[in-house]
Amino acid sequence: MTEVMLTDLTKNFPSGARPSVDRLNLTFTSGKIHALLGPSGCGKTTTMKMIAGILQPSAGEITFDGASVLRVRAERRGAVMVFQNHLLFPYMSVGDNVGFALKMRNESRVVIRARVEEMLELVKLPGLADRRPKQLSGGQQQRVALARALIVKPNVLLLDEPLSNLDAHLREDMRELILGIQRQLGITTVFVTHDQEEAVVMADQIALMFDGVLHQNAAPDQFYDCPASERVARFFGNINVLPGTYAGGLFTSARGAFHAPRAAITEGPGSLTIRPEAIRLGRASAETRAANQMDGYVLSHIYKGTHARYKIAAGDLVLEVVTAPEATQLHGDGDTVRLTLPPEKLWVMPRPA
């Protein structure tokens, strides 16, 4: 129920050459789940720490529901954070770790004990309350850290790779736990994950950063359908990018011209992109290519049971195409093929000069 807004947020570390976070403008909508994505070292943790209030921004503003929190101490902000490296209190039992936040609110011992048991149950660690953190496995520690944060009902929940050490099953359970609590209480949640798929599945909105700079902040499918730049497209696993120029709905490239009604620019140099699933693969024929078609030959392909994945060379470009598994009976490595790129699936992005 808290809207977190970052305005020109910047962090320079004394020893860092570049700002670790560079004029970040970003709004985390109240009650939604946001993913913070980006390659290692792009500034995700730094951003979160500034929101939590344990790192002082070098410049910029952070507001919660419109009010600046720069002068509000971390413990008053109501932003709970799960740290990437767990950071359990080593001198406390697991139970005391989980119950820490309640104790800080002077809850009664009985209440704390009951809630702790409940939380440990939820993170599938019942009965470990008396252990010391050191006596837990890596994944168990991570879940304790999660339980410690989830036990309170914060305004803002900041999760820094909270599930990175868990196997698929636990991961799914924990995701559901987080989602459940988030939905029930409408907590504004920001989480970092290195797993795009997780981000896509869990988040209402994804913010993608590179080198401290925000590149796109949008709903998950937007990153596939209309990535903001080639770099964004590639980060989301799409290598199908053609350089060219755009004008009047027509994209002209070394591989031919394409009708592309959807574009982030009106004209000028641009990059054309399309999802691998959207490209249709056909036999190359003597017929002249229709609009939005191009020829290439199969570099390699993999059969994946549920689908097939082709790498197609077209001039100096390599495109990826995903087809139904049956396609493998038609096209083998080295075959010349014709690709059809449906106009409504195309997207033109700006291209830096």
Partner: protein, 287 residues
């Protein structure tokens, strides 16, 4: 497992060796003497006379009270101030290096010198009194506050605090710096305010080291002779002053009593240290 245990004892071996080779033997002689066994002056029948003699002295009991009061008060004050100073000093600030150096500056100054310094400062004719005179607040030395050789042992406690605050503080500082800020940050996002961070994060982390050094302070302030001798009131004197008086008594027959007194000091200090460790661990752990 067996091997692990052996390793632990091997690690302790040098320390225990020194202890047994040098210390325990000496202690044995001391105990023998306290039991009135000292053939060189013709005492060959061990008995408990020396102890009984001490227990029947009112001065012994009053001294005991005084000694306990001084030791407990100075240790408590030193510990609190030391932790405060260490917390103050661990943050980066412009003159940090200098301050930390100043903070540790009196570590190498021996207690006796400290006592002289305290006397120079706080005696009724000391530096402070002279400043007071300069302001026209006092006329003669006797108008100034009684801070040295006073009935409440303020002078003694001042000296101990002056000397022991850096002693404990430097250890606390070293520990604080090795801990870093991370745990405090975590607790802060979990809603712990400044006091709570101190109570539930910093304190448990610094407790082991703080305890080990403040226990040393406790034992020291209980057993020290020179400082109460120089800065204390004549009566009641502290137990060590009493012991040394017996010890330097020209009458050799007082030696067993002197030894008995030292042994008693040790036993009482040991009990006190045990109680102290037990209590502080409980206080910090109990929650």
């Amino acid at each position: 497992m067996q091997f692990e245990r052996l390793k632990i004892w091997l690690m302790l071996a040098p320390a225990l060796l020194v202890l047994f080779a040098v210390f325990i033997g000496g202690l044995g002689f001391g105990i023998a003497r306290s039991l009135n066994y000292m053939p060189i002056i013709g005492l060959t029948q061990p008995n408990f006379d020396a102890y009984i003699g001490l227990f029947s002295l009112t001065e012994f009991w009053r001294s005991l009270g005084m000694t306990l009061y001084i030791a407990l008060t100075s240790t408590a004050i030193s510990m609190v101030l030391a932790i405060g100073a260490a917390l103050l000093l661990r943050r980066a600030f412009p003159s940090k290096r200098l301050m930390t150096f100043l903070f540790s500056f009196n570590l190498p100054i021996p207690h006796i010198v400290g006592a002289i310094g305290i006397m120079f400062l706080f005696a009724q004719s000391g530096f402070m009194a002279r400043i007071a005179h300069g302001f026209g607040w006092i006329e003669r030395p006797m108008d100034f506050l009684v801070l040295v050789n006073d009935p409440y042992a303020i002078g003694i406690i001042l000296e101990y605090v002056w000397k022991e605050v850096p002693f404990i503080g430097i250890v606390v500082l070293a520990v604080l710096q090795s801990i870093g800020d991370d745990y405090e940050a975590v607790s802060q996002t979990l809603g712990a305010g400044p006091l709570q961070r101190f109570r539930f994060v910093i304190l448990p982390l610094i407790t082991p080291a703080t305890l080990s050094v403040s226990v040393l302070v406790l034992a020291f302030t209980f057993g020290e002779f020179l400082i109460p001798y120089l800065l204390g009131q004549t009566y009641p004197a502290t137990l060590p002053v009493l012991a040394v008086r017996l010890f330097t008594d020209p009458d050799l027959n007082k030696r067993p009593e002197a030894m008995a007194m030292s042994i008693l000091i040790a036993v009482i200090a040991a009990l006190m240290v045990l109680a102290y460790m037990w209590l502080s661990r409980r206080i910090v752990r109990s929650d």
